[in-house]
């Protein structure tokens, strides 16, 4: 077996021509899907904890359903089905963004549900006793504490989400992996390109995990 790698084709031009555009999309997709996922995930979690059947049932079906399907299938289906439904094509990037928010909302909702449940009932009583409405109690007392308790888990999910953005290859969106793939093809060096991609994913994700660990120590609430 003759394995010899040649990384000499990598240059700043190549990186700026092929990789940065993809990296930008991967990072933006991660950020938007995290923020959107936490927002809708929190709503889903509140629905599931509302004690009202007509809110619990649809939220539970949605969350359990999403969590039982591989992400790549959701990405594909959404990309193929939505144009049929609305009668017009939507771009791969737009489709991926919506899909990721919808999919991640299911995972973030489970994290937020655990977070909300980690707040003692007495805290809710205290807010109520001071005259807060359900919304005020959630917004001012429960969610800030739940969010803080769950921040390390939320960020870990974000790191997984960043890795999962590579799945948009299924619909041809231009993410970081795609950037490396195109560069590899153009220079006839696909294996080197994928190795470089793996290294970049590793460095980014590993540094983020390290940051999460440090952050965790800093933000813990004193009880």
């Amino acid at each position: 077996m003759n394995l010899s790698f040649d990384f000499s084709f990598y240059s700043w031009d190549l990186v700026s021509n092929f990789i940065l555009k993809g990296l930008y999309f991967s990072v933006m997709l991660t950020l938007v899907a995290t923020l959107g996922g936490i927002f809708f995930g929190t709503l889903l979690a509140m629905m599931r904890l509302s004690g009202r059947k007509w809110l619990i049932v649809p939220a539970t079906i949605y969350v359990d359903g999403m969590r039982s399907i591989p992400l790549v299938m959701v990405i594909l289906w959404f990309f193929l089905l939505v144009p049929l439904l609305i009668g017009a094509p939507i771009g791969a990037e737009a489709s991926a963004t919506v899909t990721f928010i919808a999919f991640e909302a299911a995972y973030f909702s489970e994290i937020m549900r655990a977070g909300i449940q980690s707040i003692p009932r007495g805290q809710v009583f205290a807010g109520q006793a001071l005259g807060m409405t359900y919304g005020q109690n959630m917004r001012l007392i429960v969610l800030p504490q739940a969010f803080r308790n769950m921040l390390p888990v939320l960020l870990t999910q974000t790191i997984i989400l960043f890795q999962d953005t590579s799945l948009v290859y299924a619909i041809g969106a231009y993410d970081m992996l795609k950037g490396f793939e195109v560069a590899g093809k153009n220079y006839g060096r696909p294996i080197e390109a994928f190795i470089a991609a793996a290294v970049v994913y590793f460095v980014i994700c590993y540094s983020l995990s390290w940051l999460v660990k440090r952050l965790h120590k800093k933000i813990a609430i004193i009880h």
């Binding site: 003692p120 205290a126 006793a129 001071l130 005259g131 807060m132 504490q145 609430i221 004193i222 009880h223």
Partner: protein, 245 residues
């Protein structure tokens, strides 16, 4: 000011309050005691509807608490409550704990809320701790902040749910001192507590509850402590046990 009429409550088929009736007049200090599981805490929480009831009527200052149409947040905003486990908000500083509901619920300006809150903090003797987080305070200090938080809302009545049961013995006194001074100023108070010394000092009436959620005694302090022969056997038994040591 507060009236309970034949209040009953069940958790499933288990009855926690059984036909409880009583009245509390303005300026009265009513102590509720009884063995654990007798529904004392549940009873006091029905007054601001933290615990809903299935039967009976509860009136607070002319507002029907049992009526589903009642604006409960509004009612609760002027019924102060102090909890066994303090329930300060751990993610907020002491000052923020004192002001948050004043600003968000009573719509006071932050300035006004701070002024009022810090005045109450001064009164419980904790001005030096205004910028700390609750977790940095002792249990007794936290409970005093919790009292100051409730007082900042200018309540018409204060409810205390076992305010000293979770405290180390040497911290009970500082909390009771605050409660005694409140009582002496004429605050209407209902206190679930086993501190019989407190009851003897400031209570106008004592309510004794027994397992099953029944009110067995509802009489003046003088009667409760001074006239044992008029008491139910169950009450005598309970008092004998807690006053023995």
């Amino acid at each position: 000011m507060i009236e309970l009429k034949s209040v009953s409550k069940w958790y499933g088929s288990f009855q926690v309050l059984d036909d409880c009736s009583t009245r509390i007049e303005k300026g009265e200090v009513v102590v509720v005691c009884g063995p654990s599981g007798s529904g004392k805490s549940t009873l006091i929480k029905t007054i601001n509807a933290l615990e809903p009831v299935q039967k009976g009527e509860i009136w607070v200052n002319g507002t029907p608490v049992h009526d589903p149409k009642t604006d409960l947040p509004k009612l609760r905003s002027h019924v102060g409550m102090v909890f066994q486990h303090f329930e300060l908000f751990p993610h907020l500083t002491v000052t923020q704990n004192l002001t948050i509901a004043q600003v968000k619920v009573l719509r006071r300006s932050l300035d006004e809320a701070r002024k009022r809150g810090l005045k109450m903090l001064e009164r419980v003797g904790l001005m030096a701790h205004k910028d700390k987080f609750p977790g940095q305070l002792s249990g007794g200090q936290q409970q005093r902040v919790a009292i100051a938080r409730a007082l900042s809302m200018d309540p018409i009545v204060m409810l205390f749910d076992e305010p000293t049961s979770a405290l180390d013995p040497e911290m009970v006194g500082e909390v009771l001192d605050v409660m005694v001074s409140l009582a002496n100023e004429g605050m209407t108070m209902m206190c679930v507590t086993h501190e019989m010394g407190f009851a003897r000092k400031v209570a106008s009436r004592v309510i004794f509850m027994d397992v099953g959620g029944k009110i067995l005694e509802d009489c003046t302090k003088e009667d409760f402590f001074g006239n044992p022969d008029a008491r139910q056997p169950r009450t005598k038994d309970f008092l004998g046990k807690i006053l023995q040591h």
